[in-house]
Amino acid sequence: MQLPDAEGLCAALAERLRPGLHPDTALVGIHTGGVWVAERLHAALGLKTALGRLDVSFYRDDFSRSGLHPQLKSSDIPFEVEERPIVIVDDVLYTGRTIRAAMNEIFDYGRPARIDLAVLIDRGGRELPVCPRWTGEILQVEPGKNLQLERGEGNKLTLRLIDA
């Protein structure tokens, strides 16, 4: 399967976001891949509000089944959430459960004006009513495979397909 160039997709996604942004819009990347994409978008769009980062482990719906993941990151929301337009950024959108967890977490910081979703890849397979406003590319990925964003030498982003 030919995978698209992740850096090119980030640039294209930034251009799609640009017309829909408000001066106060804040981007919130989801650890780990979503943060990398959000960093690219934040730089390309020249946003004045600092970038937010979420580790949604504390809000996941599979905690009672699989416990906490060993490599937790701190969530960091360096701006006032109350009444602010927020764009959640993730690398690969699949079941939608991560986005549900991210929205729950954001609401614990305050009541945002609105939340939109931007993803690099939409791979289908949704289990919740979650729909991105901006998508880099739609890819059909068969179940049992993981589509992952990786960061290599010189911080270059690449997509990789591995067996789940």
């Binding site: 580790d55 504390f58 809000y59 905690f63 060993p70 990151k73 614990d108």
Partner: protein, 319 residues
């Protein structure tokens, strides 16, 4: 024999003592605690991890700080917390410890936080739950006799790592009444497991356990000598209520030799931190000028204690 605190997959099932836990688990607890510290700065200081779980605080011995921080930790994780005031409960009417546990288990308890004057009481409860087929109920030792106080030891390690970054080049001194101190035992096991190259204990012969050096510590009876060039000073509370017989001439005499004053602290490194598990006896083991001074990290210890207890509870509940 398998460590009774671990599941067969090597995950933490109960937290009873630091003794015998591998370094990876201690490090995992400290790493997990870090993101919990950030929750205190949010509008809603609550996470949904223990939603619908019942945590019973079983304190057979008095405690304010430990019980309160466990209660805050459980509530920030959205658990329902039930505090049992043992003095006014069935135990004072003659119910045995295990009968109390059975009754609370029948009320769908998910976790017991236990403090008891008898060393080994939390282990006895964990063993009993296993025998009853109630392995899904987790036990946390909140201090048992002179044996262990593992969450205190862990929050102390978190505090040290926060200020000193690494363990592998530190000299740490534990000062005072080591004999009666479960905190000291947990600290020594944690420090040596995490790779602190030099752990010292400082105190009079009457307040140090015999053969304490077998735990891997250097023993000093002279405080100035023991504090020379240390990075971390961990003071212990003089346990008046546990003092039997004439171990000490007087608290004033103790302060003269082993009370931490600004003058004695000069022997330590200039950037040394001073810790105390509380409650402090000012003017007995620590001078107010030090307790309120620039080296003290005693109040941050309390704050970090909440995050560390949240981490432990989450790891147990997810095991």
């Amino acid at each position: 024999m398998r460590n009774p605190q671990l599941t067969k997959n090597g995950e933490l099932q109960h937290l009873l003592t630091i003794d015998g836990l591998p370094r990876e688990i201690l490090t995992a607890i400290l790493d997990t605690a870090a993101p919990f510290t950030e929750v205190a700065e949010r509008e809603v200081k609550k996470l949904p991890l223990l939603r619908g779980k019942s945590v019973f605080n079983l304190f057979f011995e008095n405690s304010t700080r430990t019980r309160t921080t466990f209660e805050i930790a459980a509530k920030r994780l959205s658990a329902d917390v039930i505090n049992l005031n043992i003095n006014t409960s069935s135990t004072s009417k003659g119910e045995t410890l295990l009968d109390t546990v059975d009754n609370l288990s029948a009320m769908q308890a998910d976790m017991f936080v236990v403090r008891h004057a008898a060393s080994g009481a939390p282990f006895l409860i964990a063993q009993h739950l296993a025998a009853m087929g109630l392995e899904h109920i987790h036990v946390i030792n909140a201090g048992d006799g002179r044996h262990a106080h593992p969450t205190q030891g862990l929050l102390d390690m978190y505090t040290i790592r926060h200020y000193k970054r690494n363990f592998n080049d530190l000299v740490v001194a534990i000062v005072g009444d080591v004999l009666h101190s479960r905190v000291a035992r947990s600290q020594i096991h944690a420090l040596t497991t995490l790779g602190v190259p030099e752990v010292r204990v400082i105190g009079p012969k009457t307040l140090l356990p015999s053969e304490v050096e077998k735990l891997g510590v250097r023993v000093f009876h002279d405080m100035r000598e023991g504090l020379k060039d240390v990075d971390v000073v961990m003071m212990l509370r003089l346990q008046n209520e546990r003092m039997k017989g004439a171990l000490l001439p007087s608290p004033q005499e103790f302060f003269k030799s082993y009370g931490l004053t600004a003058d004695k602290l000069q022997c330590a490194k200039p950037d040394a931190i001073v810790m105390h598990p509380g409650p402090m006896n000012r003017g007995v083991e620590i001078d107010s000028a030090v307790a309120d001074g620039p080296h003290a990290v005693i109040l941050p210890q309390v704050t970090f204690g909440i995050a560390v207890r949240m981490a432990v509870m989450s790891m147990l509940a997810g095991a």
